[in-house]
Amino acid sequence: MEEEGPAVAAREFAYDAGDLSCGELLIELRRRMLSLRPGDLLAVTALDPAAPLDIPAWCFTTGHALVFDRPPHYKIRRRRD
């Protein structure tokens, strides 16, 4: 079994989703979160009027942590797998 290495500092990335909505927004969030390491942050700007409800719901459903929620700005921490 591999020993756990030293803790790696979380990185932060930005994503401007513009007015993407519904499934188009979520599929982009999914794609971007998958490219991150656990613990990394994605700072999202999302202008769609449904985003204030959709982004928290998506985080709840997928297990990522919404650590900042002030529409249109959000910050999501990638879950530990």
Binding site: C22, E24, L26, I27, R30, R31
Partner: protein, 120 residues
């Protein structure tokens, strides 16, 4: 195993608005870690053919072909109603990636156990 989700879609170019929104919702489900299947029946089966959706672009939405591609890339499956497919003389060798022609047994198997299904 992930929870499942089904989107039933029975329109193609006869209602490109419904066809597009059906795949938007399917993307939302796939992006939310649901094992998601789009069931194409009646006219909807035409969407299973490569190139058919290339000129469908509803205002305010991504092109339908892009939505179908992102859905499949996120692990989504497309089930195509076999009798509807045969009735229209469509071609199995022209199926888009992620699509499979199925009979009722596969649909029932997927929906068994209370899988939610959203219809367009």
């Amino acid at each position: 195993m992930a929870e499942k989700f089904c989107v039933s879609l029975s329109f193609a170019k006869d209602n490109s608005d419904k066809a597009t929104v059906g795949f938007v919702v399917a993307n939302a489900a796939a992006a939310s870690n649901r094992e998601t299947m789009v069931f194409l029946s009646t006219e909807g089966v035409r969407l299973s053919q490569k190139g058919y959706a290339d000129d469908i672009r509803e205002e305010g939405f991504a092109p339908l072909a892009d939505l179908m591609k992102s859905f499949v890339e996120a692990g989504g499956k497309i089930f195509v109603c076999s009798p509807c497919f045969k009735k229209r003389g469509l071609k199995e060798d022209a199926l888009v990636p992620g699509a499979a022609v199925v009979g009722g047994a596969k649909l029932v198997e997927f929906l068994a156990g209370g899988t939610p299904c959203f219809s367009y």
